[in-house]
């Protein structure tokens, strides 16, 4: 298992569109991708789970990947979030 913390920079937080980009990317990962936000553990493959967590702009989120491709998956997801998830 590997993990890294990132800050969500999207102006409206993880709203529908960035949540959709993230869920799709996580869906393509070979490992399990979890977002840790406060007390919550969020399945990154689910747009509903991401949106339901109502993650606000400026919050810190820990990305945790576990599985065969965890190293490269983590890099990919962190880079995607840092790039603003297509926004």
């Amino acid at each position: 298992m590997v993990s890294q913390k990132v800050i969500i920079t999207n102006p409206s937080g993880l709203h529908a569109r960035p949540a959709s980009v993230l869920a799709q990317a996580a869906g393509k990962c070979g490992s399990d991708v979890l977002l840790l936000y406060g007390e919550k553990q969020i399945q990154a493959k689910s747009i509903l789970n991401i949106m339901a967590a109502a993650i606000k702009s400026g919050s810190e989120v820990e990305i945790r990947c576990s599985g065969e491709t965890e190293e490269e998956d983590l890099k990919k997801i962190v880079a995607l979030i840092e790039s603003g998830l297509g926004e």
Partner: protein, 535 residues
Amino acid sequence: MEQIYVEKTASRGIAVARVYKHQEPEWTPDQHMITAAQMEEELGKFRQARENVMQELSALASENEIFAAHLEIAGDFALQEGIEAKIAGEQKNAQLAVHEVVEEFAAIFEAMDDAYMKERGADIKDIGKRLMEKLKGIQRQDLGMLREAVIVAAKDLYPSDTVKLSPEFVKGIITEEGGVTSHVSIIAKSMNIPTLVGVKGILNKLEDGMLVCMDAGKGIIVTEPEEEVQQEYLAKKQAYEEERARLRRLRELQAVTKEGKRISLCVNVGNAEDIRHALDMKIDGVGLFRSEFLYMENSHFPTEEEQFQVYKEAAELCPQELTIRTLDIGGDKELSYFTFEKEENPFLGWRAIRISLDMKEMFKEQLRAILRASAFGHVRIMFPMIISPEELKAAKAIAAECKTELAQEGKAFDPDIELGMMMETPASVLLAEEFAKEADFFSIGTNDLTQYLLAVDRGNKKIADRYDYFHPAVVKAIGEIIRAGHQEGIKVGMCGEMAGDSRATELLLELGLDEFSMSAGSIDDIRAEILKEQA
């Protein structure tokens, strides 16, 4: 054969046709638990339903963004996992599992503060309905799909049902709920469909395909009529239609009172189709274009361009006068793509101009669209539910801002466009003199005015008899509004139900009303009533 007498006529006329029952499907899930042996079968049912829903949504998604988002949710990993866990882990049947997971997710979103996220709760529920349809084998009923002449019987009809009605196939309407000022009544009247509302228990007496005669004007429904009764009704239907024909011949005459005052006869419409239908009646214009239908029939807030196309078409159809009322939503009118917070008193809540002023960008899209359409006819803008001169000034200021922008962009509009207001709140009556200095015209909305002045909910059946626009307080208020308007030299019209009620015409003429705007179905009667004064 049975004769049923009804009190509330929403739209007159006679119909003889077979019954078509329009029922909201039973969404309640099966409650039973399953055994371990049934688990695979239930999982299979769910996966098949999910597959079908996703196919259905894929086909819709290419045309519409909303369905693209629905498709994504329907295919969501957590939704699937949650439902399958209920089936496999908690021994719940597929219907119950879908219902519970959908409700859980919807509740999370509906509890959010953000209005946009709240809406997602409605999306999830809509997907839940689609899954449930597949699991229960329910066929969606769509009134727009009717291809034979029927009398539609329903508990109630919602705006989304009535906009699809075609008078070609829908010969009559009977509903268990609703009053004469409810939405279904207004629509039915504009389409000249005989309609009776508030007919309690009627669905238990009618069956699909049963032959029924109805005389909506007299409030009579006859089920399974004997041959001679059926003949009698067909004859009555013919006589009624001949009388309508006589009234039609009066259309060649102008509506002038015995004093020689030319009265403006206008229609209330919801779209360009209604205007086309009303043009035959020789109208003087549109006194009320209900722009909310454009919002209600859409899957998103209509863009400036989408609205412009609609208003332009309407302005070209009706060059004499087109009065567009800005968005009047809230109260009993909702949007599928926007969740309104539950309110204790929606009619006293966040509605009409209050929403427009709070959502300025959306309001500007509408005003810009109307202004651009004003280059193609005589367009007037009307603001609903105004209670203070400050509100009217704020709305006018936003309109001025839009004008400046359009001028800078080099887009055409009528620089002298009239900006008027609905007179429908007690506050507007008390401050009528002040408003008359600010507004370019008044239009009296008697439906809300009556409800607010008398403190009588117009949707409440128990007090329906107290809802009365002939109440002295309402009549006095109307007289006051007209007096205040004329004092400042502005035109005063009326676009509520009262304008189309021939019992009120003489009174309104005496009070000095300049313009009567009503559903198309009443135009002939009111013209005859105005001309009768001459003789």
